[in-house]
């Protein structure tokens, strides 16, 4: 494995990205197989898997930094021994939270904070800090609150009034109806919605440039002509692919707050 890893790194960046993504996938799968999970977690766990290619795409476009790639590996290395040490299989809500606390801090707060810290463009770094670090600040608050309260917020079992089951005959023919407008019962569609809104909303500094100032990809010319605060991108829109910067944290945190204690 070490040999393959070294070879991939030496050969080609694209190969290395795909290789690391696959390793991250395997590590995440191993981790999720080791910890207790619930049926209700399935959608979020699927998102965790989908986040891998997204994060590696960000790494490939030189946005996120290579440190993020090893996060699932940290999880793989760090948390199973904790599980063994605690000898807890049927984790209580508090136990689960204590266990996943380092995961929260490591996986979310630290990489996001680092991403904001290492932002190369000063003008967007401040906004990125606000967008990324502030939501992460809620993690420790949430954790302390859970510890103080003695129990964490219960994951959504769904409001009884919002759910009904239709028996279509036979045990396999049961269909559950959720109230699509209830954010607690259906957090995932709501999170997707909020993320899409954030993705579609242009950043205050990412404005569409006048045609005469449009120098596609020519950052040097842009700077030379005094447009330092703009970052010309395609379609005369400054860095449109930066929008996931704001959409992804909203999505991640919205889902996490509802699903995880």
């Amino acid at each position: 494995m070490i040999g393959a890893f070294t070879l991939c790194i030496l050969l080609n960046q694209t190969v290395a990205i795909f290789f690391l993504a696959f390793i991250s996938y395997l590590a995440l799968k191993e981790y999720l197989s080791l910890i207790p999970t619930r049926r209700i977690d399935r959608e979020v766990l699927l998102f965790a898997y989908l986040a891998i290619p997204i994060r590696y795409y960000w790494a490939a476009i030189d946005w996120y930094g290579m440190f993020i790639l090893f996060v699932p590996v940290w999880v793989f290395l760090f948390l199973p021994p904790l599980l063994v040490l605690r000898a807890e299989r049927g984790l209580s809500a508090r136990g689960r939270h204590d266990l996943l606390g380092p995961d929260d801090d490591g996986v979310h707060a630290l990489p996001h904070g680092m991403a904001a810290r290492v932002g190369r463009r000063r003008q967007s770094g401040r906004w990125r800090s606000r967008a990324l670090v502030l939501p992460c600040g809620a993690d420790p608050v949430q954790r302390c609150g859970a510890i103080l309260l003695g129990q964490a917020l219960r994951p959504p079992q769904g409001h009884a009034a919002c759910q009904s089951e239709e028996d279509l005959g036979g045990a396999d023919r049961r269909r559950r109806h959720d109230n699509a407008r209830c954010g607690a019962c259906r957090p995932l569609p709501h999170a997707v919605g909020y993320a899409l809104v954030c993705a579609g909303r242009p950043h205050p500094r990412h404005r569409r440039l006048p045609r005469r100032h449009h120098h596609v990809g020519d950052e040097a010319r842009s700077r030379r002509e005094g447009h330092r605060r703009t970052d010309p991108g395609p379609w005369r829109h400054s860095r449109p692919r930066r929008q996931p910067t704001y959409a992804a944290p909203v999505f991640v945190h919205f889902v996490r707050y509802f699903y995880y204690p």
Binding site: K29, L32, S33, T37, R42, L45, Y49, R89, D172, R174
Partner: protein, 218 residues
């Protein structure tokens, strides 16, 4: 199962490219005691049933050269509910359909399965009859006992699938990867009393289920 070479090619490609990629690479199938698997037919693989992918996982245990001989036994009413699903189940997966409840009407629902064993094929059977909760065994149906009794020289190899029931559980089409482990037991042989055989098989499956300690699934 069709003898059309194009259909056979499609079946081979489906299992070699799609099924193996999903089961062996994406999910990562680990096999305990692979040496207990039958080297050739006739044989019966008996597993627990928690997921739609169980049959494909059991079939992935065997080498590709045995693919033409692998036949999962499945409920006719479920797989023949639409023409497309019926074609796929029949031609690509190669199921042996069983009409549920036909034994009470005086027929032999396992006639096709017995004929397949006579041809030297390897059957994949789920004695529980239907999918249940992950890692939880339901009471076995009598069919496997009758089949083992009718072909008492055919080995019945129990295999307990851990983890696959969580990947796509019953009632969900969403595939969320979890590690899958299959524990293979010692081959069993049919007895005069099918009840005694079922009890023996249930005991073997329960012992296999206890071999892996997996996290709770709420």
């Amino acid at each position: 199962m069709s003898k059309n070479p194009l259909t056979r090619l499609l079946r081979f490609l489906f299992f070699a490219v799609v099924v193996r990629a999903v089961i062996l690479v994406a999910l990562g199938l680990t096999v305990r005691h692979r040496e207990r698997l039958p080297k050739d037919g006739p044989a019966i693989l008996a597993g627990n049933h928690n997921s739609n992918l169980d049959a494909l996982a059991m079939m992935s245990l065997m080498p590709l050269r045995l693919l033409p001989k692998l036949r999962p036994v499945a409920a006719m009413d479920y797989f023949y509910s639409s023409r497309l699903r019926g074609w796929f189940a029949d031609q690509i997966v190669g199921i042996i359909p069983v009409k549920r409840g036909s034994g009470k009407e005086g027929g032999n629902p396992l006639l096709l399965a017995e004929q397949a064993l006579d041809r030297g094929e390897i059957l994949v059977i789920f004695p529980e009859g239907t999918r249940g909760e992950p890692e939880t065994l339901q009471a076995f149906k009598k069919g496997i006992g009758h089949l083992a009794k009718a072909r008492s020289k055919v080995p019945v190899v129990p295999g307990f699938i851990h983890g696959l029931g969580k990947a796509p559980p019953r009632g969900s089409a969403l595939l969320v990867p979890f590690n899958v482990i299959v524990s293979v037991g010692e081959p069993l042989y049919g007895k005069e009393s099918y009840d005694a055989f079922i009890s023996e098989l249930e005991a073997a499956m329960t012992a296999l289920a206890a071999q892996e300690k997996l996290p709770a699934w709420e």
